[in-house]
Amino acid sequence: MVDVVSFDVERGKVREFARSTFAVDPVYTDRGAAVARGHVDVVATPTYAVVSLHFRNQREWVAQLGLNIERVVVGSVRWTYRRPMVVGDVIVGTRRLVKDERKPGSGGDLRVLTLETDFVDATGQVVVTEENVVIERPST
């Protein structure tokens, strides 16, 4: 396990995140529109779990994995959804290292890490799973 993060899905934060990603569907901002679609309240945009960056200690996990942050880039991200996050959800994300590989690159070996986070609601159900592929470029 790499780290655990918890956060509340908040109305204002959902609105702020929707605006910052140019979302236009009123389901993120208008409770009536969300209820009409069958939700109990306003829902979060698909990548809202990124707000967990606010609550994670980046230095700590980077150090734990032995990475040099200046050489780290994110290669890809994949999300698998069970349901949208809804305002009022209390979410706990547990991140695990699932792969740590070396792959040849043009300037030397790349270190390719696959990190998986299950975001779980208060009932223990996984709402969203996020898989991140992080690449550490070779030192020059």
Partner: protein
């Protein structure tokens, strides 16, 4: 979202143009997600790192693409979304989002699923390649 969404293979998603992205746009996303890496707002630092302007977060582009897909199909239909970061997006860039329904398949539970292929590009330069799956019917409860 009630009722079935009817789509067919080859159908194009309505394109979205976002930008030119301002420094304020990037800072708004920084505030929303909590990523305050100075590469996203310090022009001098960005230049020293080899960029002409501060760079937007990959997660910002990913979020913009995801929101666009969800605006089209309904966020509760989205079953999977995946992006690969190909090139950086800089303050001042305009990105165009395009995509199509690659095919329509039956999921494990028998529900119809549209598989989407999407691209975000600035001019001719692809910045993000993505794939998504949307459940067509019946809609997933949110």
């Amino acid at each position: 979202m009630s009722g079935a969404l009817v789509v067919e293979a080859g159908q194009e998603l309505p394109a979205r143009v976002v930008g030119p992205l301002t420094q304020a746009d990037v800072l708004r996303f920084a505030g929303a997600c909590g990523d305050f890496n100075p590469l996203h707002y310090d022009t001098e630092l960005a230049r020293r790192a080899g960029f002409d302007a501060p760079i937007a977060m990959g997660q910002m582009t990913a979020g913009i693409v995801a929101a666009w897909i969800a605006d089209w199909c309904g966020v509760e239909r989205l079953a999977e979304f995946e992006v690969r970061f190909v090139a950086p997006v800089l303050v001042g860039d305009t990105i165009t989002l395009t995509g199509e329904v690659a095919d329509v398949v039956s999921g494990d539970d028998g529900r119809e699923i549209a598989r989407l292929a999407v691209v975000a590009a600035k001019g001719e330069t692809v910045v993000v390649k993505g794939r998504a799956s949307a459940v067509l019917a019946p809609a997933m409860p949110g």
